[in-house]
């Protein structure tokens, strides 16, 4: 069986302007959404607070639970039905960080028990102090930062055999991070600066494959974050793991296309760059779609059947795989082409002189 006929030749590269427009629009929308919301919707892991998952034995509405929590002054908590319908499971989120967290879950249990007169099953309690939340946030951002850095080094070294260059890049990046962090800068800005420096260095050191791959990665993660903000989902620790996995996955796709481009560049030395690129994307198209399909299938199974705790994780993966597949076709390689265009123009100018 075959989905993609051999010898297929879709003009992906020709449509790169439209693709850039779409990607650009999505990224801008994400940025605006985040600015409007005042940052991503952090879960208790990062914002601090308490999350309690309770199971009741009779039907109750969130507002009933709210009023049951009034005697312990927790009626400003966010109550949400959770999991399958008819299981009477609820999530109680207490966002206050100034309350004494110790023993809070016990208070909730007692309050609900006495209000409803039934046994309350405490399924899960997550309590994170504000200090710990901040630490976890830093750790997560550092994890994202280091994975992008290591990947940039690996790709530039591996693809262009410029190990020296990538070491130079690593060192200068480490230097920039050291300088900025010694100014006591917020880690969010640190990451933004490090990203800009990474892209700038890739540009400056002419690490075009690394540049393409990194832009694709940033593109994928940004859009997934946007999807999270749009659907009002919380970013927790395991979601960060999902983001990093998306990075890995998207890169996987991108590298396979890049590999083919390198191979074809050696084979067809006389053909124009854009044509070789388009050919390579077409040749790997079958594989790209196939792997995405199987991965999407299992993640979909996880999304539907995996239960509430893993639901958001599966959602992130779902979005990430779709966007990652798109970006390896429409974003990563065309970025290299922009560069190539610049090169040519510069060379042309030199000749004209």
């Amino acid at each position: 069986m075959q989905f993609i006929k051999p010898g297929i030749n879709i003009d992906f590269i020709g449509k790169r302007k439209a693709a850039f427009l779409l990607s650009g629009a999505l990224i801008v929308a994400t940025v605006f959404l985040l600015l409007w919301r005042g940052g991503p919707n952090y879960g208790v892991d990062f914002s601090g607070g308490v999350l309690i998952q309770v199971k009741l034995h009779q039907r109750h509405t969130p507002s009933e639970i709210k009023s049951a929590l009034r005697p312990v002054h927790l009626d400003d908590s966010i109550i949400q039905e959770f999991g399958e319908k008819g299981k009477f499971e609820f999530l109680i989120r207490i966002r206050k960080t100034n309350v004494e967290l110790t023993g809070l879950s016990e208070k909730v249990k007692e309050a609900l028990g006495s209000a409803f007169g039934e046994k309350v099953d405490m399924r899960r309690v997550e309590m994170v102090g504000p200090k710990v939340g901040k630490d976890l946030r830093q750790k997560a951002l550092l994890a994202i930062f280091y994975s992008i850095l290591l990947i940039a080094i690996y790709i530039s070294g591996r693809f262009e055999l410029k190990w020296m260059m990538s070491i130079v890049m690593a060192l200068s990046l480490a230097f920039v991070v050291y300088i900025t962090s010694s100014f006591g800068m917020r880690i969010t800005w640190l990451i933004v600066i490090a990203m800009i420096v990474t892209i700038g260095l890739c540009w400056f050191l002419r690490l075009k494959y690394a540049l393409g791959a990194i832009i694709a990665l940033i593109h994928d993660v940004t859009i997934t974050v946007g999807a999270f903000a749009l659907t009002n989902r919380e970013v927790s620790l395991s979601i960060i793991a999902a983001f990093l996995t998306i990075i890995g996955y998207s890169l996987n796709d991108t590298i396979i296309v890049f590999d083919r481009i390198r191979e074809n560049l050696r084979r067809y030395r006389r053909r124009p760059y854009a044509e070789v690129m388009n050919l390579s994307i077409n040749e790997t198209l079958s594989r790209t779609l196939l792997t995405s399909t199987t991965t999407l299938a299992v993640v979909l199974a996880l999304f539907v059947l995996g239960g509430g705790v893993i639901h958001d994780f599966a959602f992130a993966m779902l979005v990430g795989i779709v966007v990652g597949t798109y970006s390896s076709i429409y974003v990563a390689s065309p970025v290299i082409l922009i560069w190539e265009g610049e090169e040519k123009r510069r060379k042309g100018k030199k000749k004209a002189k």
Binding site: G129, N252, L296, L305
Partner: protein, 532 residues
């Protein structure tokens, strides 16, 4: 079979067999005796999110330890000054910085400085007085402060470990973390509230005299006599659940502390059928206790636990032999836990819970079931899809996929890694991605076949050309997994571990194992037609 192929098949079979051996303990309920004598018997560890349990991070209030250390030094210094006949106007602790002292006679300054230099090397002595009056500020050095703080954390760790051991939790994980923190993981604990109370209790036991000479009423109105303090006895009526607070006016001076306790046990009062905790002191404690009781007959002695009065019985007689008892309205469990904390000793400083994650056992079981169900459904979709799309070759890839899952399970028990819910998600993801290597190879083989090559030549070329790409693609995912492992905690780490094992196992099964099968079919058996 050719020698080369036999060897490769042998290696693959050996790996398969070892994987199986490592998996058996997790699958079978009970192992025969001969098995555990020389074969692995460890099951796959389940994370707290799957088996239920408590994850706690405590912060030792190390500054409190510094405070009480300074308090003790202040008392010692008072004794030293008295002994050295140096009269002082004021001697008091200033926060957690150090001690302030002013002397009555300026001429004592030199004597004091000599004394301080020999007896109190932990302090920087700064003169803050003038010609008229000698005053000093003794600042605790940073080195000494760090030492005290570190000792407090180490001691707290040891004490908590003791308490948990006596409480009886299988496979607890207790370790120090930076910033005076202690990480505690208790899998399978049924009553989280009790466990947390047991761990978090400072358990500072003090014996203080009740001040009956002054009026409690006047003190409650704010006229607390010097050297006294008001502490409360809190009791909860077991039937009505009503909390009552009874105040006591106590002498501030602590006569005896819990550090002399050698043993604490629960006993049942035969008259009221109520449990109480009986204490035994060591010889020094016993002497002190005898002295205290002998000197204060007919007075009330309050037993104070963490600044709450447990009881305040009247001393009837001198008590020799070093035994005391704490009565109060305990139920059996409370009494048992109190005995544990008194035996294990007090925490050197209070601890604060800064992170708590509790997962009930029922949720854990649900998560496992749902995870397995999604794994089954997702796996089946992939397996059917591969057979439909690639025919016989797809079936070979499916075999590799199944072996891959087997290897992940074996890898988890081999490395003693922990399977968490995100870890199960990692396995599911690996199922989707592990066929990727085979897809890459098969697409290459198809390309070669289209060029008109023979089956055998196409297989050779397909594997050779796809190999580099597969390695490249997987190394980057492996990099991500390693970073996750480095920075992640608990569940995320579990995800990183299964992802890494999955990647490595998939390289082995999808490249090495499938190649053996293809070589057997197309080289050994000389099959001509490719079903791909």
């Amino acid at each position: 079979m050719s020698k080369n192929l036999t060897w490769r098949a042998g290696i693959a079979l050996f790996c398969l067999l070892s994987a199986f051996v490592y998996l058996v303990p997790s699958i079978s309920g009970e192992l025969p005796g001969w098995w555990s004598s020389f074969l692995p018997e460890d099951k796959i560890h389940l994370g707290l999110d799957l088996q239920g349990g408590i994850h706690l991070v405590l912060e030792v209030q190390a500054s409190k330890a510094v405070e009480s250390h300074l308090e003790r030094i202040t008392e010692e210094m008072k004794r030293d000054l008295r002994k050295g006949k140096i009269r002082y106007r004021e001697l008091k602790r200033t926060g957690i910085e150090g001690i302030d002292l002013s002397l009555v006679r300026a001429s004592d300054a030199k004597t004091f400085q000599d004394l301080a230099q020999t007896n109190y090397p932990d302090f920087d002595i700064k003169s803050t007085g003038d010609m008229e009056q000698a005053a000093f500020h003794l600042a605790l050095t940073a080195k000494a402060r760090n030492r005290i703080e570190k000792m407090a954390v180490d001691q707290a760790l040891e004490t908590i470990r003791n308490r948990i051991d006596q409480f009886g939790v299988s496979e607890p994980d207790i370790r120090p973390q930076e910033g005076h923190r202690i990480l505690i993981q208790l899998p399978g604990v049924k009553d989280p509230k009790r466990a947390i109370e047991l761990i978090g209790k400072t358990a500072q036991l003090e014996f203080k005299l009740v001040d009956d000479a002054h009026s409690l009423q006047a003190a409650l109105k704010g006229k607390i006599p010097p050297g006294d303090e008001i502490l409360y006895e809190v009791s909860v009526d077991p039937r009505t659940g009503l909390r009552t607070k009874q105040p006591y006016l106590l002498k501030k001076r602590t006569l005896l502390t819990g550090e002399y306790i050698t043993d604490a046990r629960v006993q049942i009062d035969s008259r009221y059928n109520e449990p109480y905790v009986s204490l035994s002191f060591d010889s020094r404690g016993a002497r002190l206790f005898e002295q205290i009781t002998g000197n204060n007959i007919k007075k009330r002695l309050a037993i104070v636990l963490d600044n709450k009065v447990a009881s305040a019985p009247v001393i009837q007689d001198r008590i020799a032999g070093g035994r005391a008892q704490i009565t109060g309205r305990f139920d059996m469990e409370e009494a048992r836990d109190l005995a544990i904390v008194l035996r294990a000793g007090a925490l050197p400083a209070p601890v604060k819970i800064i992170e708590e994650r509790t997962v009930g056992p029922s949720l854990g079981k649900d998560s496992i079931n749902k995870g397995l169900k999604s794994m089954l459904v997702g796996g089946l979709i992939v397996i059917v899809f591969m057979i439909v799309y690639y025919g016989l070759s797809g079936a070979i890839a499916d075999l590799a996929l199944l072996l891959n899952i087997l290897f992940i399970g074996a890898g988890l028990s081999f490395f003693g890694a922990t399977l968490t819910l995100p870890g199960i998600a990692g396995v599911i993801l690996t199922i989707g991605m592990s066929v990727d290597a085979n897809v890459l190879i098969f697409e290459r083989i198809r390309e070669e076949l289209r060029l008109g090559k023979s089956a055998r030549a196409s297989i050779d070329a397909g594997y050779a050309k796809a190999l580099v790409t597969i390695l490249d693609a997987n190394i980057t995912t492996l990099i991500v997994a390693l970073v996750l492992f480095q920075f992640g905690t608990g569940p995320v780490r579990g995800f990183a571990v299964t992802l890494s094992i999955g990647i490595i196992a998939s390289l082995f099964t999808a490249i090495y194992v499938t190649r053996i099968i293809f070589d057997y079919l197309y080289v050994e058996r000389r099959m001509k037609k490719m079903w791909i």
